[in-house]
Structures are given as C-alpha cells and as structure tokens.
Amino acid sequence: MPLLRDIKGFFPPFWVTFRNMFRKPVTVQYPEQMPELPERYRARLVLTRDPDGEERCVACHLCSGACPVDCISMQAAEAEDGRRYASWFRINFARCIFCGLCTEACPTLAIQVTSDFEISKRDPLKLVYEKDDLLVDHCGHNDEYSFYRQAGIGVAAPRGTNPSESAPVDVKDLLP
C-alpha cells in the first residue's frame, strides 16, 4: 500500500526535526573556539630543506604539472655546482584548493603541507606567496631524504661517490 506507506512516512521527519531543536548544535564557533585538526590536515604549503640545509626543490615542474588549478609557477636555474634550483617559485593561495596533489607529485619531498589554514587576506595579491614566503628552515615530515644524495649526477657528492654508485669508469681501459 504505497499510500499508507507514504502517509506513515510523512510524520517521523517532523519528529526528528522537532527533537533536534532542543539538542546542542555541533557547530564549532571558530574564532573563539579553535577546531581540532586531524594530524594529516592539508593547508598552507611550504618548501622544506634537505638534511644538509640546502633547498630541496629542484624546480622540476612536477607539482605545477600536477596542480589541478594551475596555481604553482616557477623558473628553474642552475647553480655553480650544477644544482638545479628554483630561481623563483610562486604559489597563488587565492587559487590553491589544498588538494595536496603537488606534495604527492614532488620527487624530492620539497613541497609539503602544513596545518596552517588561517591565510585569508582582503587583498588577493597578499595570497600570492613567493619563494621567500614559502621556504622554511626545516625538513618537514622527513628529515632523512636528500634527492641529490640519491641521484647520481654528482651534485651533492662528486660523481660516483654516492652510496649506490661505483667510481666513474675509465673509458680508455681495454681490460675485459
């Protein structure tokens, strides 16, 4: 009997809503009351340093490629010792949706999320962060990984001296 069912189903919602009116709301009254953030909360991004204190970011463009809203832009440059780094690095937080895809794409663990979500500004330009604003003085989540000590191109250590490498070959050697 759909009609009967419909009529029966008509009343309970009224009871539910009525009862709710006398319960305590669950809303967190934010500025007065701080929310408790989960440990892996994704908010403002930072650029971390490797254990040697060098900038981790190598300006590989993977984060900007992964970013669904295209809010990361940068320019790579080469340092004296062959190190690739970002000569400028810009994140437009007015556009960022804090999805964290950039941190997943980053091969050097340079870009990481923090739980600082209080970054609203009246002037959108103030939400455009440059490299100086992003760079922090610590390693973030991981204090061991250093890209240049894994990648065998002789930047952090001379060629062929990283733990996984043998010394450069002598191409003129004819020994079998």
């Binding site: 919602p13 009224f14 539910v16 809503t17 709710n20 009116m21 669950v26």
Partner: protein, 330 residues
C-alpha cells in the same frame, strides 16, 4: 471636521503601523527561519550580527542595497526592472483586506482593525494572489536565461493548478459564512472555527497555500539544485531582495488568510483579539518553517498529479457535500 481629521490621522497611523509590522515581520521571519532551520540541523544559524544575530536582517539589507544591481546584457530591461517590485507590491496589497482584530473604539471613533473591509474581500484576495504570478512570470521571461524561464514556467503552471483547488476550498467557507467579506467570515467563527467544522476544506486550503507560497515541498520554481535560482537566477542586489521580501510578505499574508478563513481570526479566550491573531499567524509561520526543515521537494509530475487528480476533485466533492449538508440543515 475634527472627527474627520482624527479619523484620517488614525487611518494613517494604522497604515504606517501595519506596513511597518508586516515588513519587519517579513524581515524577522527570514531570520527566524534561518535560526530555526539551523537548530533543526544542529547548527546555530546566524549569530554574528548583533546579540544572537538579532540585527542580521539589517546587515542583510545593507548588503543587498550595496551590491551591484546586475542586468544581463540580453535581458528585456524594462520588464526585468519592474518584475521584483510587482511581486513585492501585489503581496503587500493583499493585506488591505485582512481583518486582524475586533473593532476598536478610540476618541469616540470606531476603528475597525482592518484597512479596508471590502464586502468582496475574499475575491480581492484571490484576484491579487493571481496577479502575484506576474512578478514571477515577467522576472523569468525578462532575464532571458534558460533557468529563469524554466523556473517561471514551472511557477506559473503550479500557481494556476493550485489556485483552482484553493478557490474551491474556500467556497464552503463562503457558504457557511454567507458572505465574501473577511470580517463577516471571522464573525461567523465566533464560537467554533471553520477548521473544525469543515476539516477537508481546511486541509485543502493549507496544502494549496504551501504551493502558492512556492515553498518546500512545492518550491519547484526555485529548485536551487536543478535551476540554480529558478526565476530569480539573474537577479542580484536589492532587486533580488525585493523578490525575497515579497515571498516572506506572501507567507505572512497566507498565514493570515488561513487564520481568518479557518482558525477563527482574532477570536479566542482571555487574550485581546489582536494578540490571538498574531499568535495564530506566527504559529502557522512556524509550521511553514517546520515543514521546510522536514520534507523533501516533490517531483514536478508528482506536484501536478496531486494538484489535478487529488486536490481538485476532493475540493469539488467537498463543495458538493458541504452544500448538501447545508441544504439539509436548511
């Protein structure tokens, strides 16, 4: 001469008072609705502007007034501009015939607590509520947007369908009160409200005014999640505000009509008549909000089916039965 001046002054004061009360009621209804709905959903609702959010309506007004009044490039400018006013105005005008208390005696003057006691007040109400369709139809048409147009087409057909049932449902009331004057109808309920005498008519009227007010569960003309904003999609600033206010004034009016036609108007024990009237109207408004918090929106075909295949025949039948009973009782 003096009498006439006093009379004029009293009428003016009454007008201003009614105007102010209706408008501020509409404004605070919005706040009340937001707060009550919020509590039903375990939220607080607006609580930032003023203590407990009490001056939120003012804040909203300022916001709406200062926002850009945007007119789409392809809109029909003239119609686009007047449509919101039309919808607020027709709603306000209806209040002219609603009696909200027994006749008062001040300075030897009889002061009826109704702005104008038309002897065809009920027809006036029905006529104006049909006119209200224009605001919606023109607004939707003039916006030149598919969402607006769909919204207004839905709204029009919904209003037409449910007006029939509504009109038919008040026929028994007229038969029982033997008058079209709303004051006379109220007087006829001095002992027992028509809601008890003729519950089917009451229910049909109740359902119809839900449809008339375009509120949940019949809010298809606006249906945010299908039509963006329905007929007022393209409106912004105070023009949107006018549509909005019109809607809430309409809510007050419809509640008043329900009170007048079925709930015995200002009649009630112990308390003064005007207070009884207010209490009844506010209770109905609360009911409107409660329904909004509890029921989902109907589908369009369900709405039409219900209007034409259930409500209309029922109302007709009710007219016949009531007529028969009245005849039988002589």
């Amino acid at each position: 001469m003096v009498d006439q001046f006093v009379m004029l002054a009293l009428i003016l004061i009454k007008l201003v008072l009614v105007f102010a009360v209706v408008l501020s009621m509409a404004a605070y209804l919005v706040l009340a609705e937001r707060k009550i709905l919020a509590r039903m959903q375990l939220r607080y609702g607006p609580n930032r502007a003023g203590p407990g959010g009490m001056i939120q309506p003012m804040a909203d007004l300022i916001k709406l007034l200062t926002k850009e009044d945007f007119i789409p490039a392809t809109a029909d400018r003239g119609l686009f501009l007047i449509a919101p006013g039309l919808s607020a105005l027709t709603a306000l005008l209806t209040f002219a015939v609603i009696p909200f208390g027994p006749t008062l005696e001040i300075f030897d003057q009889k002061l009826p607590l109704v702005i104008c006691d038309l002897n065809i007040g009920l027809l006036y109400f029905l006529a104006l509520s049909s006119l209200a369709g224009y605001g919606l139809a023109l607004g939707g048409w003039a916006s030149n947007s598919k969402y607006s147009l769909l919204g207004s087409i839905r709204g029009l057909s919904q209003l037409i369908s449910y007006e029939l049932a509504m009109g038919l449902s008040v026929v028994p009331v007229v038969m029982m009160a033997k008058s079209f004057s709303l004051t006379a109808i109220v007087m006829a309920q001095e002992t027992i409200p028509f809601a008890l005498l003729n519950p089917p008519a009451f229910l049909i009227f109740l359902i119809s005014i839900f449809a008339e007010s375009k509120r949940i569960p019949f809010d298809l003309p606006e249906a945010e999640n299908e039509l963006v904003g329905g007929f007022h999609t393209e409106y912004s600033g105070m023009r949107f505000g006018l549509f909005f206010v019109g809607e809430y004034i309409n809510l007050v009016i419809l509640s008043s009509m329900l009170t007048v036609l079925f709930l015995g108007g200002w009649h009630g024990p112990w308390l003064p008549g005007i207070v009884w009237f207010m209490v009844k109207v506010l209770a109905i408004c609360f009911f409107f909000i409660w329904v909004r918090g509890s029921l989902p929106r109907l589908r369009y075909d369900q709405l039409m089916n219900f209007g034409w295949k259930v409500l209309m025949p029922l109302a007709l039948l009710n007219v016949l039965v009531t007529g028969a009973i009245l005849l039988g009782m002589g």
